[in-house]
Symmetry: C2
Subunit: 479 residues, 2 copies
Amino acid sequence: MNKELKYKQVYGRIMELVENGTFHNNTKVPSVRDMSRQMNFSMMTVLEGYNRLVDDGILENREKSGFYVLPAEYRSEYGMSLPRPRFEQIDVYSSNMEIGEDFKNLLETSRRPDFIRLGSGSPSPEFFPGKELALHMSRAARNNFNEINLGNFNHGHAGLRKELSGLMMSGGTDVSHEDIIVTSGATQALLLALKAVTKPGDTVAVESPGYYGYFSLLEFLNIKIMEIPICPQSGLSLKDLETVLNKKKIAALITSPSFQNPTGATMTLEKRGKLCALASKFNLPVIEDDVFGELSFSGTRLPSLKSICQSNVIYISSLGKILAPGYRIGWISGGKYHKDIERCFDKGFFVQNQPCQYAAESFLKSESMNRHLKTLRRKYAENIRMFRNTICENFPSEILLSSPEGGVFLWMKLPDGVDSRDIAAAAAARKISIAPGVLFSSRGLYSGYVRLNAGVVWSSKVKDAIVVLGNITGDLQKK
Amino acid sequence: MNKELKYKQVYGRIMELVENGTFHNNTKVPSVRDMSRQMNFSMMTVLEGYNRLVDDGILENREKSGFYVLPAEYRSEYGMSLPRPRFEQIDVYSSNMEIGEDFKNLLETSRRPDFIRLGSGSPSPEFFPGKELALHMSRAARNNFNEINLGNFNHGHAGLRKELSGLMMSGGTDVSHEDIIVTSGATQALLLALKAVTKPGDTVAVESPGYYGYFSLLEFLNIKIMEIPICPQSGLSLKDLETVLNKKKIAALITSPSFQNPTGATMTLEKRGKLCALASKFNLPVIEDDVFGELSFSGTRLPSLKSICQSNVIYISSLGKILAPGYRIGWISGGKYHKDIERCFDKGFFVQNQPCQYAAESFLKSESMNRHLKTLRRKYAENIRMFRNTICENFPSEILLSSPEGGVFLWMKLPDGVDSRDIAAAAAARKISIAPGVLFSSRGLYSGYVRLNAGVVWSSKVKDAIVVLGNITGDLQKK
């Protein structure tokens, strides 16, 4: 038996004792030495298993005292039984296949306008200050009628870039507006980042489960996909990432450290530091997707990877989740890769339209932006609470549910044996959409999971839809 | 001596006699039989040479009567001595090199805002109804404040797609709005077209001289470039294209049949038909770039390739040259490749912003669009006339100048030995930009040429700039 399998036994043994209640909150687990004797493994192996449990938010390493079980309030019910892809599953997905029709249908259903769209990836427009934005657009268009109609070749309207730099600064990330390029949404920012640091046939690491838009974009660019497990408690599994980096050339990592889509995971501060160290050691370009970063329910945010490691991190974000989805304004700041990104931007002529940039600048400059963000965070937090309560009352008790501290998504593990595609089909007949878990892997994982978008205006209709989903799930469980 | 070299001798002999004035307008040239005896070549060889002269707009084949020299008014002074790249030069350009710093500097100089920008590729904003557009934007934003802020996943705002379909229809091209995708400018439309019909490493044929944006985009996509000569009289050389198609696998052709950038060439109707037949024979995807198509000075336009051959032609265009450069609205209609293009669009998430689409729809729907286009054509025609007159008065008599029937560009052959880069450098010191010919080849051709943008507001400053350019050229010629 090799070492890899041994430390998994350690991991499994502790998990078992936590899950069956033998180890309570704050229980001190056996010392590394004792456990090593009990299981007849080396101390190194036991330590490896314990460290993984720390990474995944199950144990806590109290300095000079030992390892303790984290109090339950720090472990979401969900985090405790995250389905980690087994190591054998961490393998390169060959991306030569087309996006399947199934996949396309699922996506289309999740977005149907006549549906209660709990499957959509975008919050409802009612969350955004549409009327006020329209006034800013109207004013910007009339005041700058010549400028907004100029065929331009720059990397974005300087006024907007300054505002975006200010927005980042207020979150603790110090980037000059000259190091920002405005793009058409975060996806085109990602496209530019990938073009700059990869070539066709390369392999890029992504979080698993992860945003389906990454998979399709990577396919579009003929890049292979390596899925790395993410823990909904503490974010990306760095151990798994390191294992992969030691074995294989990885051209870049895409990670969304704050309120990840779909799990809502937020990478711990400690892990952020470690990831930056890893990136530096392996000279790995890290693409940080921060589109949900502003949406912390408490209002505070952990330091971005970019703020920890300016050089190796390519930062991308957008206004799509926080202000104006219809404006398609994203941006990118590429650290030491920025010149390459600029070259790609120039070559592919990715210049953005002017009117949306002027209007967004005008809104960001106003007092309204701070007020709007505060309201938005409060509304999203309230919606997540309403969703969680209604789900707990109306779904079988066997489900597990994420408890995100920001963003708009809930990630739910279904009772054993229930396939989310069956729920999606039954829900579609009732004009309700959900995002089945299979969308969030390039390799067909997560069929037993569902992502729900809580970014819809709360109403009795929405509540009824959740009740219907709960009933469907219950019925499927009984079959 | 092989056949290829022989027919070039025939071509050269006739050209010589036309250029030295031995053959006048409407002169009947020796019959194929007589010429064959005179030069001791086969009749096939002579016919080949004559046919090329017909292709290039030098001779005319009058049915049952023979070959005649075209009247001078049908031959631009320029068309007569187009520097055809020799056949040996028709070769694949390996595009692994980066865009050079030189190239970048030349481009940047040509666009400097404090300059008289005769080197720019965009018309001045004063040619566009900026104030009126701003009102449409303002109204569209306020009337559709929710719609324009929706994160959307469709292929463009349906209302705009209908207007674009209508615009194409008024030019004789019948395409349903459902077969139109709205893109960020024509370049992204081209990117999607190329992604749909090529893969990295393929070779794509382009017109030479041709738009530098093509070269950089093809490099961006790791596609090799094959330059095919274009005749400023009659457009793309189909003989050369056919030669290439017989020798090599070409993944697609990019052609701009109306008022080509930089030459202003317009492909004859006969050639349009022949090109479509060739495309069908070789199953060649033809990407028709029609961004200047609306800018015919006479107001009439030849049928688009798309209207002749719906299936094989991928049509792309934009509002950038005719209405609103700052809006970055382009579109694409892909014939039998349309489904593949839609897939690429979805994969890469190329969704466009909403406000510009609603504003453009509103303007296109109004009475103003037709009026604006008429005014624009008249203004451009007038500017081209002023430019030509001022150039003829102030440049050395050895230059040759294009005489376009639409668009905004003039293409000038400099006196022998004068390099356009030297003119660009001397002009930059006087705050005037030009686009040196080397920009229009991926292989360093056309150093003896210049493109001028006549799409600037005519003024004494502009006139003075042309005088300065004429003096610089004269001085360089004397050296």
